[in-house]
Subunit: 414 residues, 2 copies
């Protein structure tokens, strides 16, 4: 662009921005939150159990009472089938996989992972694949775990770099969202999974938080990513104890009222159940049973995910189309085009992400706090913006995406 | 008794014991578990929420989704009224108050209680009122907290002793079940509560786990214990930060599928919510809402407790009557006669509790593991047996109480 063209480009963007400001928007795109429409498709959860007789599990357990800390057998089987592990490798738990991750890290701090309690060590480090999930990073920071950034690649973590970092015995683990990663939407490819499984970290209590939050969260029927079964790979190398897998129905049924699960090696399951013995008498088995009865089997879950996809697909496509129309070919931004998950990751040039965030906020559009996708809230390039298109209705979303694109034009032409 | 009378007494007891053995009993009196009949009276919980419209809280929050980490406002209000504190002093949580206690202690270990993390200290001690709740003691042991026994009295903890023990700055707290204590059924009297509130422990981060598990669990309408409001007393002395109160509906609605709550000072609520921010996005608000809608108000909860009492009262009375008939006046045992809670505490002479437990187990009656009511599973007098009369049907319970009394006769006449 000539300087004149550039000035005109900026003036036009500013003009449109002020128009948006006058519309007094009030839109929240900060979190990966299902929309009301999505909640409605799970309402049959509410009435699935009608009386005491409905509350008996297949193995004859009255789920209205205490007991069965590893979870309702039927529910464990459902998730074992979903995650392709044996039922003995599954613990069915409460409403939040995040709190399971918290509990696991907390246990590593107070009791170690079959090792010295991490709280007794001078330094504990974790590898943070960036950009990544802000709540993982916040949790590590909460526990005083030092994070080392490693940039995500289109095929997953940069394994050359990871293999170097794990030579440090104070590096005790890493956070992975291996399918439709938050926020990039990357699914780790076969080679990456193989190399993760083959890792020989210096720390024998090295643990990968394998947060498989979006395991069945495909947007398209005809094209979706396939994640390798990490435990199957790990058993080849005898590294199955390195991986603790977490998943939940938070974005399958009701967020906050779903079921979460842990998948882990026999040794880790035993260690976790032992800790749980001190922690609780049992998780909410009625809610586990509701999920089993509503879905029946994995096909039932996949059918539910098709209904979600029908709501979500137009939203993702609308944002991508607007980005393409507004920002395509300008060289000031690029963005992910995920086939699943909950986010679009927008990268802007010139260290202008914070400015984009402020412009949007001032015009009534709340984005995920810029920087939040990096440890300590610090994005060294000030480039990443996590776009969460799921919550707003489609019409609001389109306006918001346009506003966001206009804000990028302003910020990048400064 | 003459030696001949004693021999006859023992022979008769043995004869009856072998008769019990031939009946091949299979009765579980080990845990404070509601009976099936009690579960049935909560079945309307299952169908209270029918559709999305039912899931909106009074303040307009769609409880099917994320958010509101302190809990549904309506639910917090209900428990604020029940526990006589302000709504700002209540956090409504998940299905288990035990896990809230675990989380609180775990936080003290990793982050302290506004102080040095306890895991960084050479020694952390807790006062254990004995006999007491086995899961409290197991949890403290799990965290490496050293327990110091202090004998329960008929009016609550021995305050002279407690006031001495807290002069040690490594004594960081104590466990209390202040109403219908587990297992003694003691409710702390007014003077005890006043002295607890007035405590000036050497440790500034001294914390009382005020586990008010049986706050409305009265057996009789005309006589029930009254527990003083510990926060009201504590505010007089400025010690409100010392007390963290826990309660739940585990024995009001469904054990394992109820709602648990924390009541605490503003400072502690803030600290706990701050930790929860890293731990979870929100607890199961649908289940909180179910409880609010089923009960409406405190009177609704009290009505439900009358229904429980109608089932439980005959069970407690049957056991007490059998104990009186079998063991009254013999000088070999005495037992509590609680007007609420879940347990009868049986004390036997001559260090014979373990023998009683073994005799019962061999005849098919499972009791709470003898010793479990003491830290480290060690009852120095081998005298306490926790009797949990709630779970078995009345006819089985009567046979079991008789067997238990016969076992006491055998063991104490050895």
């Amino acid at each position: 662009m000539t300087p004149e063209e550039k000035a005109e480009f900026r003036a036009e963007a500013l003009r449109r921005y002020y128009e948006f400001c006058e519309r007094k928007l009030h839109v929240d795109m900060s979190r990966g939150k299902p929309s009301k429409e999505q909640l409605d498709i799970s309402d049959r959860m509410l009435t699935e159990l009608q009386d005491g007789a409905d509350c008996i599990s297949n193995d004859g357990f009255d789920c209205r009472s205490y007991g069965n800390p590893a979870g309702v057998r039927d529910c464990r089987e459902l998730f074992a089938n979903l995650l392709h592990v044996d039922v003995g490798n599954i613990i069915a738990c409460g409403n939040s996989s995040l709190s399971l991750i918290y509990d696991f890290l907390s246990q590593c701090m107070t009791h170690g992972a079959g090792s010295t309690p991490w709280s007794k060590l001078d330094e504990v480090k974790f590898i943070a694949i960036v950009p990544g999930y802000d709540r993982h990073f916040a949790m590590a920071q909460h526990f005083g775990i030092k994070m080392i950034n490693s940039k995500m690649t289109p095929t997953g973590p940069n394994m050359d770099e990871i293999e170097e970092l794990i030579k440090d015995p104070s590096v005790k683990g890493m956070f992975c969202v291996p399918k439709y990663s938050n926020p990039d939407g990357v699914t780790y490819d076969a080679e990456t999974c193989e190399r993760l499984a083959a890792m020989k970290p210096a720390a024998e209590d090295f643990r990968v938080i394998w947060d498989n939050a979006y395991c069945v969260h495909d947007l398209y029927e005809d094209r979706h990513d396939h994640l390798r079964n990490i435990f199957k790979l790990a058993r080849k190398y005898g590294t199955q104890d390195h991986f603790i897998e977490f998943s939940s129905t938070s974005k399958i049924t009701f967020p906050g009222s779903g079921v979460s699960v842990i998948a882990a090696s026999e040794r880790n399951v035993e260690m976790i159940l032992n800790r749980m013995h001190y922690q609780t008498i049992s998780y909410d088995k009625l809610n586990q049973l509701r999920h089993v009865k509503v879905f029946g089997n994995v096909a039932g879950i996949k059918l539910q995910m098709k209904r979600h996809a029908a709501i979500l697909r137009p939203k993702f496509e609308a944002v991508e189309q607007i980005f393409e129309e507004e920002l395509g070919g300008l060289g000031i931004a690029h963005w992910s085009k995920p086939v699943g998950g909950y986010f679009i990751s927008l990268e802007v040039t010139g260290g202008s992400a914070t400015t984009v965030g402020t412009l949007c906020q001032d015009a009534g559009l709340t984005l995920t706090k810029v920087g939040a996708t990096y440890p300590y809230g610090y994005d060294p390039d000030d480039s990443n913006i996590r776009v969460a298109p799921t919550y707003p209705p489609l019409d609001e979303l389109k306006i918001s995406a346009e506003l966001l694109a206009v804000a990028v034009k302003i910020a990048c032409s400064e």
